[in-house]
């Protein structure tokens, strides 16, 4: 436990020096603002381009439901550019330590592999969750200002669902970073797999049940329809199961000294 705190602290200091604690939240704030603004102004801009009779804001636009716009922030911004940036910012999470020998070095100390992995995942998840949350909140404020209000409880429920999916993204990328040695390959595999998961959501109920990306869909559903899908909790549990499995794989991989040292 003690060692875990030391490793966790080191990760945070590193993120602070890398300015990751500043730029990652800003990126998500940016993405969060983009969706409501684009939705709000795009039709009038398009209209101006086509008709040329000047840009006016269509009053019917404000009638669009706020929940749909906030859902689109998750689905079109965070689930696309947002998560790619997240994955790329984490591709070296364990690979860098492997490449420069720090992983082997740290493990010559009386440190358990579990506390090492936990330090990595917890720190990276906290910063990712913080960024997503703050970007989402800003988006929420914009949506409430430009469109119809979204109820606070729906907003929070959707956020919690979405954060489960973020935890899966962080854990999965960490696993890929442990197994592979090239950052390009790590980013490619993680992005392709996770986007694949996100795309197949809705194809079949069986796949949806085991697919962690369904958490993103459940979050969007809460915002759009205002009701919680009963499958959401099951899906969250399945996702947690995947995450535990991923932790086992990472632990096995490192503890069995399969890691490439030179």
């Amino acid at each position: 436990m003690n060692k875990f705190i030391v490793l966790l602290k080191k990760e945070f200091v590193q993120m602070l020096r890398d300015l990751k604690v500043i730029w990652l939240p800003i990126v998500f704030i940016f993405l969060g603002i983009t969706q409501p603004i684009v939705t709000y102004y795009l039709p009038s801009i398009l209209g101006a381009l086509g008709g040329g009779q000047g840009i006016t804001i269509d009053p019917s636009m404000t009638a669009q439901k706020g929940g749909e716009v906030l859902a689109a922030t998750l689905g079109s911004q965070f689930d696309q550019l947002g998560f790619m940036i997240l994955v790329i910012s984490m591709m070296g999470i364990i690979q860098t330590d492997k490449a420069n020998g720090m992983l082997a070095f740290i493990l010559t100390r009386p440190v358990t592999v579990i506390s090492y992995i936990a330090g990595k995942i917890v720190s990276n998840y906290l910063i990712a969750a913080f960024s997503v949350t703050i970007g989402y909140f800003v988006s929420y404020l914009y949506v409430n200002y430009l469109f119809t209000d979204v109820s606070f409880s729906h907003m929070i429920t959707a956020l919690l669902f979405y954060l489960v999916w973020v935890l899966f993204i962080v854990s999965f990328t960490t696993m890929i970073s442990t197994i592979f040695n090239s950052q390009g390959i790590i980013a490619l595999i993680s992005i392709v797999f996770l986007i694949g998961c996100r795309i197949i959501v809705g194809l079949s109920p069986v796949i949806d049940f085991v697919n962690s990306a369904s958490m993103s869909k459940h979050a969007m559903e809460v915002l759009i329809s205002g009701s919680v899908n009963s499958k959401a909790i099951d899906n969250a549990l399945v996702t947690l199961f995947w995450i535990v499995l991923i932790l086992f794989v990472i632990n096995y991989w490192i503890a069995n000294k399969k890691v490439n040292h030179e």
């Binding site: 003690n2 060692k3 030391v6 490793l7 080191k10 200091v13 590193q14 020096r17 890398d18 420069n100 020998g101 720090m102 082997a104 070095f105 740290i106 493990l107 010559t108 100390r109 009386p110 440190v111 069995n256 000294k257 040292h261």
Partner: protein
């Protein structure tokens, strides 16, 4: 503490890196692990430092598995690499805390250790700006910080320039007093300077485990070198006929004489030379240098 390496074997795919290697280190001993590049030294060191698991065999420290005794090990990798964004002090605090030291102890011991390794005044410099020698010294500092009873060093001086090498060797000389040290090197001179005991490894197998004096004695082949002038060449034929002379080799004016028993025979040869009024330029008892012995062991024995 006592270190035992028992029948360690490690293979990478088809290649055998370490083959059934065993040795014991007594507490306080300093042992040099010597071998040519690619002999399996680094692999063996990594097995001992518990970085890689061997296929067979085990490493015991005071009778307990090494993975349970990590608190007692100080490890210096071949190319110590630290987080470049940390300062020297932060690095030592981080490594020290990982070894279970408290912050309070560290505030006292870190300045001490930095002075010892000659990095005083650099505690707040970023490791990224350090030269190879400074990194090596920081590496030694982190290996010593938690006062381990066994220090394992992989090629501690090979990558350094002569000045850095000197500094690090002096440092090891000093820490040798209180700890068991195992270091690997491919440069014999380094090991000769610090360690009494050598273990020579080749193709993953231990081919020699001895002390310097023993190695020298065993390999001094009862040789006498006599350098004479051109006019006394016929004396060589006289020497050849002496009963105790086993072999004679002439290189220019130098005569290499191998005898049965150097202590008994050397004076007889000298007397004989004087009798024949040989003009002696040089008369010496010749021992192979460590370098020669090492080469013979490593290159020979194929």
């Amino acid at each position: 503490m006592k270190l035992e390496i028992k029948n360690v074997t490690k293979t990478f795919r088809e290649k055998i890196a370490v083959n059934n290697f065993s040795m014991k280190l007594k507490p306080g001993e300093c042992v040099g692990l010597i071998g040519p590049n690619g002999a399996g030294k680094s692999t063996l060191i990594k097995v001992i430092a518990d970085i890689i698991d061997p296929q067979a065999g085990e490493v015991l420290l005071n009778g307990k598995k090494i993975s349970k005794m990590k608190r007692e090990i100080g490890y210096l990798p071949q190319y110590p690499n630290f987080f470049h964004w940390m300062t020297a002090k932060e690095t030592l605090t981080f490594m020290g805390q990982l070894s279970g030291l408290q912050k309070k102890e560290l505030t006292i011991s870190i300045p001490e250790i930095l002075t010892k390794v000659g990095l005083k005044g650099e505690e707040n410099s970023k490791v990224g700006t350090f030269s190879g020698g400074m990194k090596q010294r920081l590496g030694i500092a982190q290996a010593l910080l938690h006062k381990p009873s066994l220090i394992i060093m992989d090629e501690p001086v090979s990558a350094l320039d002569p000045i850095g090498r000197r500094e690090v060797l002096n440092l090891i000389e000093e820490i040798k007093k209180d700890t068991t040290i195992l270091l690997s090197t491919h440069i014999l001179g380094d090991a000769e300077e610090i360690c009494e005991r050598f273990v020579i490894i080749k193709n993953g197998t231990k081919i020699e485990d001895t002390t310097i004096t023993e190695l020298l004695n065993r390999n001094s082949k009862n040789k006498i070198y006599v350098e004479i002038t051109a006019k006394d060449q016929e004396w060589i034929d006289v020497v050849k006929k002496l009963p105790f002379v086993e072999e004679i080799e002439v290189i220019g004016h130098k005569v290499k004489i191998i005898v049965e028993n150097i202590d008994k025979n050397k004076n007889v040869i000298l007397e004989n030379a004087l009798e024949h009024e040989v003009d002696i330029v040089k008369f010496e008892i010749h021992n192979d240098t460590l370098e020669e012995i090492f080469l013979k062991l490593v290159v020979g024995n194929e």
